[in-house]
Amino acid sequence: MSNLNIEFGKVKFKNPVITASGTFGFGREYKEIYDIDILGGISTKGITKEKRDGNTGMRIYETSSGIMNSVGLENPGVEGFLKDEIPFLEKLNTNIIVNIGGACESDYLYAIEKVSETNIDMIELNISCPNVKAGGMAFGIKTKDARQIVKSARRVTNLPLVVKLSPNAEDIVDIARACEEEGADGLSLVNTFKGLAIDIEKRKPIFENIYAGVSGPSIKPMALRMVNEVYKNTNIPIMGMGGIMNATDAIEFIMAGSTCIQVGTANFVNPRIAIDIIKGIDDFMEKEGIKSLEEIIGII
């Protein structure tokens, strides 16, 4: 077994594999399938100030090499999360990253303050959910807006703050730099790409919201490029994601500049994929004589 430990800023991870927000619930369901303590971390389902029922109509659609989703941040709200999910999450022996979305700055700050009173390891500020206004993508498009929300968030929490960036940002490097300047401890990128699918017989969009988030293998090359560009232009660590389906993909993201990686869509293909990826990274390090992941982070 190689040394898979990695430091993401001040936070220690037992391995770099984190399950991505929105694909892993609050961990309960997958705990019935395998020992999720084996994971480097879990990024929770996105939490908003108020409870949300999510979007109506179709929520999932398959593309030729990926999926589109329009869940619309269905979640129990921060109070429900604290009451029903935190006790379970706090008992897990893995890093817990709470993903927070919001429609306006005060919603974000309310939820951030609330979760900061718990024993979690990190906050992931979601300024990139494309499926609802409440998801905060409005904050993730323009650098000026992202700067403002990160600045405010930084003031209300001492927890490590990771900002989840949108591939739909006007300038991914510019927005990443702004987050760094305002005190973000790290960046996670990328969220889903805004896409469109059409039912040609009904002559209508598949999704009621018209546009939906694209994820899976088809977005990997773009996501990798963005991780690499951000890595070369910032000095805070990155959690890379976007179509990671196996250990090779994960290692590509590490070589492009990711300290940790997040696995999303692949959980739906194989519920145990995160374990396979951890093992695959380990095997690669063993084979290549890599003693620490730091040797290969951002070597491209």
Partner: protein, 232 residues
């Protein structure tokens, strides 16, 4: 990974897939099935149609790319399945009616087989749009078998005669049954069909509105008390 024993067409667009192995699973539960590697990305949720110590059987209708790809599998081919998932129909006693419409009959054969020896009376109602199929199979388990083709099967159903109605099929049919049972001393259980991604309750793409709030069809369902789902 398991081996396919049989994958045969039983009617227009309807196929029966038999997979070798001893699998756990209750009536109304489902498996996430994939008979391919990468594409399509998602597995397909198929309910248990029948099972015994040697094999498990699924009944599916060709709807799109995934189910079309399933039809190409042959005896001896490998297939992946995860499960069983979902809650399934409850074990009950008394007088039961099982009502299936079209491919909605899929989870009801194993249900009938299970209930046959425990309930007082079991009547089976099957409705088809164009052509009936597998009615002989169902005939083995019911006290009475009612079949309708091209007509509403609900026309034959007298809900008052039963303590429970278990149903699966088009939403319009299930909704009608729930309405018929309203105010009467009969409980209806409906099996809901939705597009799914994870199958385990994590992604929320199959959420549906119930009387008790949002519910995950894959994890909290697919079987619900009719009055909890069709309440509006």
């Amino acid at each position: 990974m398991a081996k396919i024993l049989e994958n045969i067409k039983v009617s227009d667009k309807i196929y029966k897939l038999v997979i070798e192995g001893k699998f756990h699973g209750e009536m109304g539960q489902f498996f996430m099935i994939r008979g391919w590697d990468d594409y399509p990305l998602l597995s397909r949720p198929l309910s248990i149609h029948d099972k015994n110590n040697e094999s498990i059987t699924f009944l599916y209708r060709v709807e799109g790319f995934g189910t079309n790809k399933l039809t190409q599998l042959r005896k001896g081919d490998n297939i992946k399945l995860e499960g069983p998932y979902g809650n399934g129909y409850p074990t009950v006693k008394g007088r039961i009616a099982i009502v299936g419409g079209g491919i909605g009959i899929a989870p009801l054969l194993y249900t009938a087989k299970n209930l046959k020896n425990t309930v007082k009376e079991l009547d089976i109602y099957l409705g088809f749009t164009e052509k009936e199929y597998l009615t002989d199979e169902f005939g083995k388990y019911g006290n009475n078998l009612y079949v309708s083709v091209g007509d509403f099967i609900t026309g034959k159903l007298e809900v008052d005669k039963y303590d429970y109605v278990f149903t699966c099929g088009p939403e319009i049919m299930m909704r009608k049954i729930v309405e018929m049972a309203k105010g009467k001393n009969v409980k209806t259980y409906v099996s809901i069909e939705k597009h799914m991604a994870c199958g385990v309750g994590a992604c929320l793409v199959c959420s549906c509105k119930t009387k008790n709030g949002m519910s995950r069809v894959c994890k909290d369902g697919p079987v619900y008390l009719g009055e909890d789902v069709f309440y509006e």
